[in-house]
């Protein structure tokens, strides 16, 4: 019968659970305990969150400190990875004679110490830069091999090989020690790889720092100036397309559109990329401290217009104090000789060459963001001949 009933109509709902729930609702016992459990839960989640935040913050600060100390920015390779994806290799261009033996010259002898022409940044070197996917310092003779140099194998001494017991894994290898007078791009040639922070810390054999010449802030300022000039050029393109000058409103719309389209690239990557590609020379910390622009970016704005002159002033200052610094013992006689040679080479780089290199870095970014816009502007530009 029961079976028949259940088959023909739904079984009556058991009333017991509702009664229990109603009782529970009126029951005040254990309320404090539940409140405490809830509060503790929130507190534990908060503590874990704060702890995680603190860890991340610590790591970031440590990376910044590394950057300041000349050991490479942790995120640098990420930026350069963006460059690598759209980098167009160019014919090799070298300046001056190779550095003297005893130093470990970097691959970059191109105009501003930015990416050496002919180096395909997409192809990582087999040496210590492998994990960063970047070309490494070399003897200046291997730009055509696609990895920018022979890396640590070309050293004239020192301890070139990856250390820390993590070699040959293809990732997370700290770079070898710098040697005084090493020079090249800040990150790609003399920098640590991007994920070094995850690798075991390896004590460095020296307190060498990579000094930007001219200072990195000047490079960033100049890059921004060139970016504005590039935007203005595009405004002129639009003027040609319309066959008349642009009203202030039209100009503002175009500039806003370009800035909006490029904001991410400009604010996130370009500054860092410019600095990472900038020419640097490895010098001892005490010597670096006496540099003209050490911890002083006040000159950056005024000097950005002529990077060659700024670099010349930086190098001349070093040359002026070099003998005194050797006597003081802050720099060795051998390194001083190397620096004289490096500075003589760098002194031949012109303002135009500095700007050309920066513009190339900047356009690499812009073109990624503005591919469509470029195409339409170039099409419009063809109408110019009809205007006048």
């Amino acid at each position: 019968m029961k079976h028949e009933t259940s088959a023909s109509s739904p079984a009556p709902r058991p009333r017991q659970p509702w009664r229990w729930l109603r009782r529970l609702r009126r029951d005040q016992r254990g309320a404090s305990l539940i409140e405490q459990v809830l509060i503790m839960g929130v507190a534990v989640v908060g503590m874990v969150g704060f702890s995680r935040f603190g860890t991340e913050l610590h790591e970031d600060l440590e990376q910044e400190a590394q950057h300041v100390r000349g050991r490479g920015s942790a995120n640098a390779a990420l930026s350069l990875g963006a460059l690598a994806s759209s980098y167009q290799p160019q014919p090799a261009s070298r300046a001056g004679s190779p550095p003297p033996s005893g130093s470990r010259p970097a691959a970059s002898t191109s105009a501003s110490g930015a990416a050496p022409r002919g180096v395909d940044l997409r192809k990582p070197s087999a040496s210590s830069a492998a994990s960063a996917g970047l070309p490494v310092a070399g003897g200046g003779s291997s730009a055509g091999n696609g990895n920018g140099g022979t890396g640590t194998g070309s050293t004239g001494g020192g301890s070139p090989q990856p250390r820390g017991g993590i070699a040959s894994t293809g990732e997370d290898q700290p770079r070898p020690d710098l040697e005084c007078g090493d020079h090249g791009r800040y990150q790609a040639d003399l920098g640590a790889n991007s994920r070094a922070k995850k690798a075991p810390r390896v004590p460095r054999g020296s307190d060498l720092e990579r000094d930007h010449i001219p200072q990195g802030h000047s490079l960033r300022v100049r890059a921004q100036q060139l970016l504005r000039a590039e935007i203005k050029r595009r405004v002129r393109d639009e003027m040609s397309a319309r066959c008349r000058h642009l009203t202030p409103e039209e100009e503002a719309r175009i500039v806003d559109a370009i800035v909006t389209k490029t904001a991410a690239a400009v604010t996130k990557n370009m500054d860092k990329m410019v600095e990472n590609q900038g020419f640097t020379v490895a010098v001892p910390h005490p010597f670096h401290e006496n540099g003209r622009t050490h911890s002083n970016s006040s000159l950056a704005e005024s000097e950005a217009g002529d990077l060659a002159a700024a670099a010349q002033a930086d190098m001349q200052h070093y040359l002026d104090i070099l003998d005194d610094e050797v006597r003081r013992g802050s720099i060795s006689r051998e390194c001083a000789d190397i620096l004289r040679e490096v500075f003589a080479q760098r002194g031949r780089v012109s303002k135009e060459q500095y700007d050309a290199e920066l513009r190339e870095i900047m356009l690499t970014h812009l073109q990624k963001k503005l591919g469509t816009l470029n195409a339409s502007l170039e099409k419009q530009f063809k109408q110019e001949e009809k205007c006048q």
Binding site: C243, R244, H245, T247, P248, E249, E251, E384, K386, Q388
Partner: protein, 163 residues
């Protein structure tokens, strides 16, 4: 009171166009700017455009090096290279209320303008605009989508074509 009355009088088209090619530092241009309530900032760049929506006028300055024909003045500073006259409501302007140059009227249709000025030197379907080139200046007109009226009158000095 007298000064206030003068300051709100919109400069006539002839007066504005007579200033084309004049240095921004010239008395004539400075007076124009004052009347329009404009203060262009040339500290960073000679290429500056300023708008006076209340008057329906905008002015553009640029380096004389950007002109196809160098001006007579030896002043290397920015010069007035272009004047814009806006129809009421265009780009948020109140509209230029004095008579337009070349006997134009914002109510003129594209066809009517071509009757007045002849075949344009250059036309754009995309921008609904026509351009006429004269001896030392050009005239460009932007029309409404249907070509029934003028939205913007531009009179400027031909610029140098960059290769």
């Amino acid at each position: 009171m007298m000064t206030a009355t003068i300051s709100i009088v919109t400069p006539g088209a002839d007066e504005l166009l007579a200033s084309l090619g004049e240095p921004a530092s010239s008395a004539r241009v400075r007076q124009l700017l004052a009347r329009l309530g404009l203060k262009p900032d040339f500290s960073e760049d000679p290429a500056v455009a300023v708008a006076a929506p209340a008057h329906g006028v905008s002015l553009r300055f640029d380096s004389p090096l950007e002109l196809a024909q160098a001006p007579l003045s030896t002043d290397r500073g920015p010069i007035l290279v272009c004047c814009f006259f806006y129809a009421p409501g265009h780009e948020g302007h109140r509209g230029y209320r004095s008579p337009l140059p070349f006997g134009l009227d914002f109510a003129c249709s594209r066809a009517r303008v071509q009757q007045l000025l002849g075949e344009p030197f250059w036309s754009s379907v995309r921008y609904q605009s026509d351009r006429w080139n004269f001896a030392h200046r050009y005239l460009a007109l932007d029309f409404a989508r249907d070509g029934s009226s003028i939205r913007l009158v531009t009179v400027g000095l031909p610029w140098r074509v960059h290769s």
